[in-house]
């Protein structure tokens, strides 16, 4: 009987206790590398200029899963990028526009799958001459929703609207398309990048494309139509677009809404919706201002 009770205790304690592995996880490294065409410590940059940072990141055996870029100045902090990924190493150049802040303390923080962190920083000063770039204005574009007969696709750099046939032959030029659906009962004229999954359900032809672009729409930041109309360089565009909120589609795009976007080629722009039908056979009118 004693052996019986003892064996029960042994078995139960074995089952109810668990062991943990106390291994030491590798630590990641991140470095802001300098070189031609990239930003170095202490550089002076004009407001609106495009800055390129070269980051060299190593997970040292663990996958790199998160890259965050923040700027701080005079106690204010802004997250410029918060990006998920899954890579062993990364040697990449990323671009941001210089803000109006006099001194920007940039911090690049990486995290691995083990939630180990590493960060590197660099300080940039604002130059006296602003460097905003020119923009191009497409004042009236009309696209048809998925059941309409007109063109559905748009190339923001050339201002061309494209039919199914044209879009199929120029896949890399298609920055956006439009469709209409009811989202839980709410009518939603929708701008989408061809690379978004939902676009495929409205335009099955995309399933045969070999090149898909991924235009991202900032679905949080709102701009007034008046500000859109007044924009004469890319200042407003740069200030409005926040990559943290960039998504592949923009829903509920009815008349009066103005929202920023960024194309796969890195062009930032604004869309102002002028008019929209509320059925899948209808059309939508909009204006676009985009970096030249």
């Amino acid at each position: 009987m004693r052996a019986f009770v003892f064996s029960i205790i042994l078995i139960c304690s074995g089952i109810l206790t668990s062991c943990s592995d106390d291994g030491t996880a590798p630590k990641p490294t991140v470095q802001v590398a300098t070189g031609e065409g990239t930003i170095s410590e202490g550089d002076t940059i004009g407001e609106g200029a495009l800055m390129h940072f070269r980051l060299v990141i190593n997970g040292n055996g663990a996958k790199i899963t998160n890259l965050v870029a923040t700027i701080t100045c005079d106690g204010q902090k802004k997250t410029m990028m918060d990006f998920g990924l899954w890579k062993d190493k990364l040697d990449t150049i990323i671009g941001f526009y210089k803000s109006a802040w006099k001194q920007e303390n940039w911090t690049f923080t990486v995290m691995t799958e083990n939630r180990d962190f590493a960060s590197a920083g660099i300080t940039i000063h604002k130059g006296s001459i602003s460097a905003f770039g020119p923009i191009v204005n497409w004042p009236l574009i009309t696209l048809s929703f998925q059941n309409g007969e007109g063109p559905h696709y748009f190339d923001v750099e050339t201002g061309e609207v494209l039919t199914d046939t044209e879009a199929t032959t120029r896949q890399s030029d298609v920055d956006l398309l439009v469709y209409f659906y009811n989202d839980a009962g709410k009518p939603s004229p929708t701008f989408s990048s061809p690379g978004d999954q939902d676009a495929l359900s409205h335009y099955p032809v995309i399933g045969n494309w070999s090149t898909l672009t991924y235009t991202k729409y900032d679905y949080v930041t709102q701009t007034t139509p008046e500000a859109f109309d007044e924009a004469s360089n890319d200042s407003l565009l740069i200030k409005q677009y926040d990559d943290v909120w960039g998504r592949r589609k923009y829903k509920y795009a009815t008349a009066g809404w103005v929202f920023p976007f960024k194309t796969t080629n890195g062009k930032i722009g604004l869309i102002k919706v002028l008019r929209s039908d509320l059925d899948a056979s209808g059309t939508i009118d909009f204006a676009v201002k985009v970096q030249l």
Partner: protein, 775 residues
């Protein structure tokens, strides 16, 4: 293994078949099929007896010569006796052919009163499944065994690939397992965290019987017993050594195996050590559950692997005193059909350990029992997806535990009364975190709920046993504490939740009083009528008390002040054995639920970054009216055929829904409960001829509302209701040789496709072939 096993079986048969001087040997078989009857009892005196082995053979050694009366008995058969003259030094062979009882046998049940009673002596609607019935049902998991019980609804959207299943009854939503209490050997296995039950971890081969008690049962069991109670009772070894090894292969390239071994030190004796070991393993390639329009380049099949092992050790000190320990482990991985970078993609993993120790004894006229249990589950859910060229990967890691002590005493007093009293103590806890790897967030929620309860029950027989009264009362006290909701390193996207962090959520307490009263009368031996009143309740799940977070269309905040939902039920039932062979029963019931929990707006809004959404929290704001009718018939017109049919009607409607914020909230008054089928019909036949056992069942489940507002679902299903489903299942088993059986089961014979609330599709026809070896 096969060769050795066969040789061993042949050898055993030879040993038992060949009479040895000084022994009486023989075999006990069924009169129709000629099948051996393992476990049949052979007695040659009041206290001397033995049981047959797996091939139906027995052997006895009477100490003295002379005239003996051998008596052979087996459950479900007429007892047979034979007078023999035995002389020491001579061998004697005495075979018995037992005749099947033509009347429907009546099981003994324990769940409804926590005491042993014949089924017809309990004033409640009870359905049972015996091990023989269980072996004939086409089912791939333990919950599916219940599918043909009247009024039972099972929600298992993806067959064996479903990480969870819900079994509900009596008009309570099929989405909520927490409103139906599930016991395993008397231990509550609904988790305090979310009320759910992991049906996957139960080995169907280990089930001795299942008892289903319809209607509220909180007067004896406390929380979760609103719609009813399901008690799954495992086998207790009675023989020296028995075992079964089954291998199976199913649709979607699904191989599996089950093993059960058990033994007893002194077969046929009420003392001694016994043990059993059981386990199963199964894996499946699965199938693509997403509809075609939802599939992406990351879509994969929802594959599955699972493994389970269990050990039961027990010691019978005498007929009444027993100590038993049961430990079980289960581990699974079930993919949900999307894979980006992680080895198993989006998946769930349950790592579960169950422990139970039970002590029974009799002190004077009082039966006592004490059970300690620990149910521990490490749940992990991997979430990964690629959106907007950015990768998101996070784990939900949740440690859920339920520890308890159940004490019960039962004694016959004042001649015709049996009084039972007990104390239940339990602690449920959750310690969970959403750990992000592609952002810095770590969102933590934890909380504990302590329950203490006392109960008293009286069973009273009167009118010479024709009348029976069962009355009970239970008082439950619950204390919520240790609640926390916090975020470590909130990133930009989750920063909106930061103001709602609470490191010490307020502690709360509540109490519940649950009475019951049942009365029945048997005008004849084969007829009874009963009526009863009972109350049930379910405590709020910990998830609603201590976790804030995103929900569809907004944000919910924790509400530690939630009270339990309650339901009061009256019912009337009648049973009759018609024409001597047709068992019929009918039940009607009326229930009124109070304080049902729904999400409602707090009147505040939250800027979630992408939108300003209402803040919601669970509140006890609704009454629910449920009434229904259940009827069933079953018959065994000839010994090898059983036919059954049953029907259940349910009306479940929300009453007096309290609208907290009319500007935001939808008034649900008058709406019907979701996931409740108003009409369910099922029927089936079991055939047992010679070496062949076959079963064919069908079930019709009516259409059900999809959402609380009974509105049109324009996201996934594009309908107001789930369509009705008619499903046919079948199974056939053939005993190829004494120890070898081959069987095939087909679930959903006509390959009917149906969809769950997010548009994912069921597996369709599911075929399983099995070969089992028993000894």
């Amino acid at each position: 293994m096969n060769t050795i096993g066969k040789l061993a079986t042949v050898l055993l048969a030879l040993i038992f078949c060949t009479p040895i001087n000084g022994q009486i040997t023989g075999r006990i078989t069924d009169n129709i099929s000629g099948e051996p009857l393992p476990g049949a009892v052979v007695m040659w005196s009041v206290k001397d007896g033995t049981t047959t082995n797996s091939d139906g053979y027995y052997m006895i050694k009477p100490a003295t010569s002379g005239s003996l009366t051998l008596t052979a008995s087996f459950l479900g058969y007429e007892t047979a006796s034979r007078k023999v003259t035995f002389k020491q030094g001579e061998a004697l062979k005495v075979n018995f052919v037992l005749v099947t009882r033509t009347v429907v046998t009546e099981p003994v049940v324990i769940t409804a009163t926590r005491t042993e009673n014949r089924l017809s002596d309990v004033p409640a609607r009870i359905n049972t499944l015996s091990s023989k019935q269980i072996s004939q049902i086409p089912a791939s998991s333990s919950d599916e065994l219940l599918a043909y019980i009247p009024g039972i609804q099972i929600s298992r959207s993806f067959g064996i690939l479903s990480p969870k299943s819900t079994v509900s009854m009596r008009g309570l939503s099929g989405k909520e397992q927490s409103r139906t209490l599930v016991l395993f050997d008397g231990i509550p296995i609904n988790k305090t965290d979310g009320g759910s039950v992991n049906w996957n971890l139960l080995n169907t081969d280990q089930i001795e019987r299942i008892e289903v008690i319809k209607g509220p049962g909180s007067a004896l069991y406390g929380g979760n017993a609103m719609g009813g109670i399901i008690n799954i009772i495992s086998r207790k070894p009675h023989q020296k050594l028995v075992g079964k090894l089954a291998t199976e292969y199913s649709t979607f390239n699904t191989p599996g195996a089950r093993l059960s071994l058990s033994g007893r030190e002194k077969p046929g004796d009420s003392t001694g050590f016994y043990w059993s070991v059981n386990g199963f393993a199964r894996r499946s390639d699965g199938y693509v559950v997403q509809p075609e329009v939802e599939q992406t380049r990351y879509t994969t099949k929802s594959e599955m692997t699972e493994i389970m092992g269990g050990l039961k050790l027990g010691y019978d000190f005498n007929q009444f005193r027993n100590l038993e320990v049961d430990v079980r482990m289960y581990d699974d991985m079930r993919g949900s059909g999307e894979k980006v970078y992680q080895p198993d993609g989006n998946s769930t993993d349950h790592d579960t350990r169950h422990f139970r120790a039970t002590y029974h004894d009799r002190l004077g006229k009082t039966d006592i029992s004490a059970t300690a249990f620990a149910l521990i589950e490490d749940y992990a859910k991997v979430n990964e997806y690629m959106r907007d060229n950015s990768y998101t990967f996070y784990d939900v890691d949740s440690k859920r535990s339920d520890l308890g002590l159940l004490l019960n005493a039962s004694s016959e007093v004042w001649n015709k009364h049996r009084l039972s009293a007990g104390i239940d103590l339990r602690r449920g806890a959750v310690d969970a975190a959403d750990i992000y790897y592609t952002s810095t967030d770590k969102i933590i929620n934890r909380g504990k709920m302590d329950f203490g309860a006392v109960y008293l029950q009286d069973e009273y027989s009167f009118l010479g046993g024709k009348g029976r009264l069962v009355a009970g009362l239970r008082f439950d006290y619950a204390h919520f504490h240790g609640g926390e909701f916090s975020i470590e390193y909130p990133s930009e996207i989750n920063s909106f939740m930061a103001p709602y962090q609470i490191n010490a959520i307020e502690t709360t307490t509540w109490t519940a009083v649950s009475p019951k009263l049942g009365l029945q009368y048997k005008p004849t031996a084969n007829t009874r009528i009963y009526t009863g009143y009972s109350r049930g309740f379910r405590p709020s799940i910990l998830d609603d008390m201590c976790r804030s977070g995103r929900i569809r269309g907004g944000f919910k905040i924790a509400n530690p002040n939630l009270k339990p939902e309650t339901i009061d039920n009256i019912e009337l039932g009648v049973d009759a054995l018609l024409f001597g062979y047709l068992k019929a029963s009918a039940t009607s019931y009326y229930s009124l639920g109070h304080d049902f929990m729904y999400y409602t707006s707090t009147g505040q809004t939250i800027d979630m970054g992408y939108a300003i959404n209402p803040i919601s929290k669970r509140e006890n704001i609704s009454k629910v009216e449920i009434y229904g009718f259940e009827a069933e018939i079953s018959t065994r017109p000839i010994s090898w055929l059983v036919v059954f049919a049953n029907y259940a009607y349910t009306h479940s409607q929300i009453k007096d829904y309290e609208v907290v914020n009319p500007l935001v909230d939808f008034n649900l008054t008058g709406k019907f409960l979701t996931d409740v089928a108003p009409n369910i019909f099922s029927a089936g036949v079991n055939i047992n001829v010679g070496r062949i056992r076959a079963a064919a069942y069908c079930k019709y489940t009516d259409s059900m509302w999809i959402n609380d507002s009974n509105g049109f679902d324009d996201t996934y299903l594009f309908a107001y209701k789930y369509p009705s489903v008619f499903q046919v299942d079948a199974k056939i088993s053939v005993r190829i040789w004494k120890t070898l059986t081959a069987s095939t089961s087909v679930q959903n014979v006509f390959d009917v496709k149906y969809y769950e609330s997010k548009g994912s599709v069921n597996p369709g026809r599911f075929v399983t072939g099995e070969i089992s070896y028993s000894f």
